[in-house]
């Protein structure tokens, strides 16, 4: 099977090691990965700020870049929400709608693809560990892929998942929200950190680079003892792939 891998803008700029681990997780299941060198961003920053016309240019770039009939695998429920759901809304009544729909129907979040399409079965190679989990809002409510990630964690026999008390509450990232309303965003992330620390675990995991950028950046600033890790880095390590 051949798939396109879309690293996302944050995967390219900040989480490049994570992107590499994602590719390895796909290859481990015998999937052939195509990496388009002209890939960019899903367009969420401009879309959520209300720049609809600018965003349509980005959407059409993506639609025309990933044109063959392969699944498009994205390691972010947030970008998947944008590419599989919001793209359609943005092109409602537009002449390119069918073209966009053909693209959107091929978009999968990585955990969703591993769980539902490839039906992975993992053997945990790591030492016993306690972790907690932050659900990205769009992964939870728009692309609805959190169940798959949790199902994969449940296969890791030495990993104890301690749920957050406020798992379903936004961490305050919200893309440009974090810099447009920095004070409110900070109040939100501090509540999230408080919740994470109260769980007394080694790591907080999330499958979303945006939330992690926010949570880990704020945790570093307040010198939190809990560490954060991208879910796909964690998974790659547990199954003996990661660095």
């Amino acid at each position: 099977m051949r798939v396109y891998f879309f690293a996302t803008c944050l995967g390219e700029a900040v989480f490049s090691q994570t992107a590499l681990n994602c590719i390895k997780l796909l290859q481990r299941e015998g999937v052939e990965v195509i990496f388009k060198k002209d890939q960019t961003c899903c367009g969420q920053p401009s879309y959520n700020s209300g720049y609809y016309e600018q965003t349509r240019e980005i959407v059409l770039h993506n639609v025309r870049l990933f044109k063959e009939d392969h699944p498009i695998i994205v390691p972010s429920g947030s970008c998947v929400g944008m590419m599989a759901h919001d793209y359609l809304e943005l092109f409602e009544g537009h002449k390119a709608y069918e073209e966009v729909k053909n693209f959107s129907l091929r978009v999968y979040e990585l955990a969703e693809f591993l769980d539902k399409k490839l039906e992975v079965r993992y053997t945990d190679l790591g030492a016993p560990i306690k972790v907690t989990w932050h659900s990205n809002c769009h992964a939870l409510r728009v692309s609805k892929v959190i169940e798959s990630a949790k199902k994969i964690i449940s296969q890791l026999s030495n990993v104890e998942l301690v749920p957050l008390q406020r798992e379903e509450e936004c961490c305050g990232f919200g893309g440009t929200f974090a810099v447009k309303e920095p004070e409110i965003s900070n109040a939100m992330v501090q509540e999230k950190i408080h919740d994470i620390e109260s769980r007394q675990v080694e790591y907080v995991l999330s499958a979303d680079a945006g939330c992690l950028l926010n949570i880990s950046g704020a945790m570093a600033k307040v010198r939190s003892k809990t560490k954060s890790m991208h879910f796909y880095d964690f998974l790659a390590q547990r199954v003996g792939l990661g660095v």
Partner: protein, 483 residues
């Protein structure tokens, strides 16, 4: 605090800063919202296995009426008139206030008692009456508390939820001369004793409306304390203020919506008082007002109705659950929105009622987490509508929200987004930008505090480590098709 004047970004930033730093407010809100969220969740799990179907039924009941609102309003008017109601139309807030004032003046009324009504807040009734020399007195417990300290409701269902029982005790001590108490029962007792005096011999009562039933020409009022019943029956003249969107077709539809309203609002199946009012006192009846009036308030609702997407916001049954679940609302409280309606539904409707030019900043008070849309009992797509509001601000939306033409938006942001879109739709430019950002990333650490966006990020977070070598690494991975 006023609701109709232009607010500057500075006003907003200042009030948000104040609220965020108010530790007592934050604690009160957090604890109140947690209670409301958990009560709702537990109730739905225990008693409403078919909540999703009920939501769909409620959504359909509202959308059916909104799609032909004119004819339902007309039907309501006909039937209500037959029942003996006097039906008035108010196009603007001023019209509504004048109707009430004239009714009071003609009958020599100097003191009006009010049940809970957000529509009356929207038109600024209390202030209007005060300027004309008439006292409009709140009778709802929450409304009474905040009226005593000259505040507006902080929440659309629970107006004084930002005050805890100790604070309420102090307010009653200071303003009503009551002994200092903090037990809810004793506080209720103080309010009750105070209100009983007010209710004695009053002439004119004002109420809101939860559902206006077109087929019957009747109104349905939901409340918990009995003061609403007093305001509507123990007076000579009852005036109900009803936003035209409160229309439903039948009692059956109203029942469906009531079954969604009570659990969503406060996590109960039903409230203590459900008042269904079919008109003034009829001959031979022992109680009820001699006159019953209904003011059908438009106040720009027709504009909302005219838009293909925003009209859905008129389905709102004012349960407030979107406020309860909003991670922004629970940090800053309702007053920080500087608007009658705060929280997600407030973000959507406030600019439409009062003009986007007056409320441009309000569209920022949302992280688009989507929780409001998830819990809305009538499935209003709140996050989508908030995002569309931002598009109205940047003039890339449908151009339908009042005042959008005069909305100020950041030119810096516009240039930034245009540059971003240009990069993100061209692979070569994008790779060049990524390579540059990784080359200059160490400089970002030094100069970051001087660039506006980074500065705001770095105020509370460390700089992320920019890598930017993904392409080179991917090319090295065996088996990857890099094309």
């Amino acid at each position: 605090m006023t609701h109709t004047t232009t607010h500057s970004d500075h006003d907003y930033e200042q009030v948000i800063g104040e609220k965020l730093n108010d530790a007592q407010l934050r604690t009160n809100l957090r604890s109140a919202m947690d209670t409301l969220i958990h009560k709702r969740k537990d109730l739905l799990e225990d008693r409403y296995p078919e909540w999703e179907q009920l939501r769909t039924m409620g959504q359909n009941a509202k959308l059916k009426v909104l799609s032909q609102l004119d004819s339902y309003v007309q039907k309501f008017e006909e039937n209500a008139t037959k029942n003996g109601f006097v039906v008035h139309y108010a196009n603007t807030a001023k019209d509504a206030n004048e109707i009430i004032y004239n009714l009071a003046k003609e009958r020599g009324v100097e003191r009006i008692l009010k049940g809970k009504s957000m529509a009356s807040e929207e038109i600024g009734l209390n202030q209007y009456m005060k300027e004309k020399g008439i006292v409009a007195k709140e009778t709802d417990l929450g409304e009474l508390i905040i009226q005593l300290i000259d505040e507006h409701p902080v929440h659309i269902v629970v107006p004084a939820i930002h005050k805890n029982r100790h604070q309420v005790g102090k307010i009653f001590q200071e303003k009503l001369g009551a002994p200092l108490e903090s037990e809810p029962e004793k506080l209720n007792g103080i309010a009750r004793k105070h209100m009983r005096g007010e209710f004695e011999g009053f002439k004119m009562g004002i109420s809101g409306v939860n559902f206006a039933i077109a087929n019957e020409g009747a109104i349905w009022l939901v409340e918990n304390e009995g003061n609403g019943r007093m305001c509507t029956t123990a007076c000579d003249i009852h005036v109900a203020i009803c936003g035209i969107e409160k229309m439903v077709e039948s009692f059956e539809d109203a029942s469906i919506l009531n079954n969604l309203l009570c659990p969503s609002a406060v996590g109960v199946q039903i409230t203590c008082y459900q008042n269904i009012i079919t008109g003034p006192r009829q001959e031979g009846e022992l109680d009820g007002p001699k006159e019953a009036h209904i003011i059908l308030l438009d106040h720009n609702r027709s504009n909302i109705l005219a838009d293909e997407k925003y009209y859905k916001a008129l389905s709102c049954i004012r349960c407030g659950t979107c406020l309860n679940h909003c991670p922004v609302y629970d940090k800053i409280g309702g007053h920080a929105y500087l608007a009658t309606y705060p929280g997600p539904i407030g973000v959507v409707i406030t600019p439409q009622l009062f003009g986007l030019d007056n409320y441009a900043h309000i569209a920022n008070l949302c992280s688009l987490c989507g929780r409001c849309g998830e819990v809305c009992p009538v499935k209003i797509p709140l996050p989508e509508l908030i995002r569309d509001l931002r598009a109205e601000k940047t003039h890339e939306g449908r151009g339908v929200v009042r005042g959008y033409k005069d909305t100020k938006h950041s030119k810096l942001e516009e240039l930034g987004m245009k540059a971003f879109a240009k990069l993100a739709s061209n692979g070569t430019l994008w790779r060049a930008a990524m390579a540059m950002s990784s080359t200059f990333a160490p400089l970002g650490k030094v100069f970051g505090h001087y660039t506006p966006v980074l500065k705001k990020w770095l105020r509370y977070r460390e700089m992320p480590k920019v890598q930017g070598s993904l392409h080179a690494e991917v090319k090295k991975l065996p088996g990857v098709i890099y094309e």
